[in-house]
């Protein structure tokens, strides 16, 4: 097997992970930041580039998530996300309490029919359909954030654990999917110790409803470290691992992962076309929600996300199956081959992000010094924003990244196929997506 570096072997790191304080303080700060963002969106400047809500959510955080948190920490953002915090305070009867104590809430189980990442994918589609407005209007951003905060709170009073994060949060879906490619995992050290331990305190404590012994993929583990804190045998490891470790012939994948992966890919393509493409009409169609043009845009978006891409993917999976030696049902093949979509989509999103992050990052400092866009100068900066230019460096970087993505997804395709013949249709699918992204980003 591949190499792992267990961070808990260092006593200092272990102490840091075991203590609830470090994580709690970070979450308390992100919660305050989240609430400040909502207020800034509601009462601050209507000019997006001068409002903390737009710049911090859609430039700083959204970029950091895709360029830092996921590629270097998997679901590390989930471990400091403030959204479930108020609900968990009530559920657990305290902030520094593990799960399982008496708290407030009905504690119902999430309905079986609503499990999986289907609704997260649906949420992501909604973000895409209304994205042009949400991403530019501070007020709408604030309303969406407030809605999410309240929804997570209400759901935590009705259902057990982090139901919102597990089944509804679109970012949870996004992060979970691509965390499979990330270099961090939480696993048990010795399976025998767990087998002999009948109380399963780790499962009881897990806000995500995971049983660490059964963890094969990092998709559903939010890295909250609750299991590590309650394990009586110190049997939980936090490993640094090679990228893409969850992708291979032995890991299990479900059909909803394929759907999520395709929706994310379609969103990366459509967002690239709307925000970076030279088509003014497309931009205004995406922006004018409710207009006939917007319905056309929404229709085309949905056809791509739910028709064209799934169709192409299904065709490649079917072909791969027929070119391979062992036959599986189409449903199983679609789920199994969905691993190819993970590196492909992750790198497409990173390349898309780089194209605007370099240009827009100059807006971040000005909104720190004047978060509400009222002409303040809190940290004494020169007035106007430095706006970067798309340099040839960023273009080369994007091309190189997309090539890495194609190589990576092809390697995954090869690893999960018996022969190169079997992998060929999946590699062709990846090449098609890469070409489309190249055309949209570099043109």
């Amino acid at each position: 097997m591949t190499t792992r570096l267990d961070l808990t072997r260092s006593p200092r790191t272990l102490a840091l992970l075991r203590s609830r304080w470090a994580q709690f303080l970070l979450r308390a700060i992100t919660l305050a930041g989240f609430i400040f963002t909502i207020l800034a969106g509601l009462i601050g400047s209507v000019v997006g580039s001068h409002n903390f809500a737009i710049i911090f959510v859609w430039i700083a955080w959204w970029t950091a998530l895709k360029l830092a948190f996921i590629p270097f920490g998997g679901r590390s953002w989930c471990s400091i996300c403030p959204i479930p915090m108020p609900g968990e305070w009530l559920q657990n009867g305290g902030i520094l309490q593990p799960r399982g104590r008496a708290g407030i809430g009905l504690g119902k189980r999430w309905p079986k029919s609503l499990r999986g990442t289907w609704m997260q994918a649906g949420g992501f589609l909604l973000i895409g359909l209304f994205g042009a407005l949400t991403l530019t209007s501070a007020k709408i951003t604030a309303i969406v954030l407030l809605f999410i905060l309240v929804l997570a709170l209400v759901l935590s009073l009705v259902f057990e654990r982090r139901s919102f994060c597990n089944y509804l949060c679109p970012i949870g879906g996004f992060t979970g999917l691509y965390a499979q490619a990330g270099p961090v995992e939480l696993r048990v050290k010795d399976a025998d110790i767990c087998a002999a331990h009948s109380e399963k305190t780790c499962y009881t404590a897990c806000p995500w409803g995971q049983y660490p012994l059964a963890l094969k993929s990092s998709a559903n583990c939010g890295l909250c470290m609750e299991c590590l804190r309650v394990c009586p045998s110190d049997n939980i490891a936090v490993n640094l691992r090679p990228w893409g470790s969850d992708l291979g012939p032995k890991t299990k994948h479900r059909l909803d992962e394929a759907f999520l992966g395709l929706v994310m890919l379609a969103s990366a393509l459509v967002d690239s076309a709307v925000f970076l493409g030279p088509w003014g009409q497309l931009k205004s169609a995406a922006y004018n929600i409710g207009s006939p043009d917007w319905f056309l845009f929404a229709g085309v978006f949905l056809v791509i996300a739910l028709g064209v891409l799934p169709g192409l993917y299904t065709a490649s999976a079917w072909l791969a199956d027929h070119l391979g030696s062992a036959r599986a049902s189409l449903r199983k093949s679609l789920a199994y081959y969905s691993q190819v979509l993970v590196p492909l989509g992750l790198i497409a999103w990173i390349a898309f992000t780089i194209s605007f992050a370099i240009v827009k990052f100059g807006y971040v400092l000005p909104v720190v010094t004047d978060p509400l866009g009222w002409g303040w100068n809190l940290i004494g900066l020169s007035k106007s924003a430095w706006v970067g230019e798309t340099t040839s460096f960023s273009l080369i970087l994007q091309v190189a990244l997309l090539m890495v993505g194609l190589f990576w997804s092809s390697r995954v395709a090869r690893r999960i196929s018996d022969t190169i013949r079997q992998a060929a249709p999946l590699i062709a699918f990846s090449a098609f997506i890469t070409l489309a992204m190249l055309w949209l980003l570099v043109g």
Binding site: A32, L39, I43, V46, L96, P371, W374, G375, K383
Partner: protein, 329 residues
């Protein structure tokens, strides 16, 4: 449990700080209110956030201006271009106004912010002691009863570019009326050329010599300062409709039908092409002044009478003739 209590206080403190800091400063900035904060928005988005500003003679008012959408500008009608203020989206700019005369002033947007840009104006009512605002003289087209909507297409135009320098050689042979200010104001270049052509004393001059003379007469009415002011005003205020070259192809009029005198008032039109010398050489300064003051009723051209001073209007007119002269090939 002490740790739990501390954690709760930390959360409550941070969340309260996140709420109190923005709300509190919002309330403070409202309560102090020594300045007037005015937001500029395209007319489709609501226009100026304040329609009417009240002021007192001699008492400065401080304006804090910002734009909620695109780049706008702020100026008081008939003020110098140097006092115009640009307003960039999301940024604040401050300006202080002080008025010497009681009366009604106009403020307006100096940037072509959109198709309804010309609707972006408001009033400043200044009360107090003092002489009223000096009024402009009656427009020439009213004084002399000129029909400014009549076609003014010049039949005769020069065959090659006229030169004021060459024209100056004949200046001592010209009849008195030719160099009279009144003649300049009320006569089109083409009409003056016809009139000079019929002068027996000038019958030895060629047609081109006479065009050189007309050009000289036109140029001597306008200093280079007037010219450069005219260019600046034209570019700032008119080029969005008339085009930077005066061709009538500005960004705001693309796709509109070309102006046609027989169908005036039937809807928005594109302005005529000033680089066609027939258009402007057939118009007198008085006629152009009238069109600028009154605006083109129904054509989409705004009325500039309350916005530009008479000097500013005449500097634009002088620049318009330059366009015409320099378009002759």
């Amino acid at each position: 449990m002490r740790k739990e209590g501390l954690a709760r206080w930390i959360v409550i403190f941070l969340v309260l700080a996140a709420i109190v800091v923005p709300l509190g400063s919002w309330w403070l900035s409202r309560a102090q209110g020594t300045q007037i904060e005015m937001h500029a928005r395209m007319p489709e988005n609501g226009g100026w956030s304040i329609d009417t500003i009240q002021a007192k003679v001699g008492q400065p008012i401080q304006l804090r201006l910002t734009s909620d959408d695109v780049v706008h500008g702020f100026a008081i009608g008939k003020s110098d271009m140097e006092s115009w203020v640009s307003i960039f989206p999301g940024e604040y700019v401050e300006t202080t106004l002080i008025f010497e005369h009681p009366g009604k002033y106009t403020f307006y947007c100096t940037r072509w912010c959109g198709p309804n840009h010309w609707r972006m104006h408001g009033d400043i009512i200044v009360t107090g002691e003092g002489d009223p605002i000096p009024s402009d003289p009656l427009p020439l087209f009213l004084q002399y009863n000129i029909d400014i909507d009549a076609p003014h297409y010049a039949e005769n135009i020069p065959g090659s570019p006229p030169s004021a320098e060459r024209g100056a050689r004949f200046s001592n042979r010209l009849p008195d009326y030719a160099i009279d200010m009144q003649t300049y104001l009320l006569t089109s270049p083409a009409d003056l050329w016809l009139k000079l052509r019929s002068e027996p004393s000038l019958s030895d001059l060629s047609d081109m010599d006479l065009w050189d003379v007309v050009r000289w007469i036109w140029d001597r009415q306008n200093s280079s300062r007037t010219q450069s002011l005219g260019v600046k005003l034209f570019m700032a205020l008119a080029s969005a409709a008339h085009g930077e070259s005066g061709r009538g192809d500005g960004v705001m009029v693309r796709g509109l039908p070309v102006m046609d005198h027989s169908r005036m008032g039937s809807g928005l039109v594109r302005p005529p092409d000033f680089t066609d010398p027939h258009v402007l050489l057939g118009a007198s300064p008085a006629l152009l002044e009238g069109k600028i003051i009154r605006g083109g009723m129904g054509t989409g051209m705004p009325s500039w009478g309350s916005i530009l001073s008479r000097d500013q209007i005449h500097s634009i007119i002088s620049y318009l003739y330059t366009i015409a002269w320099e378009s002759i090939k």
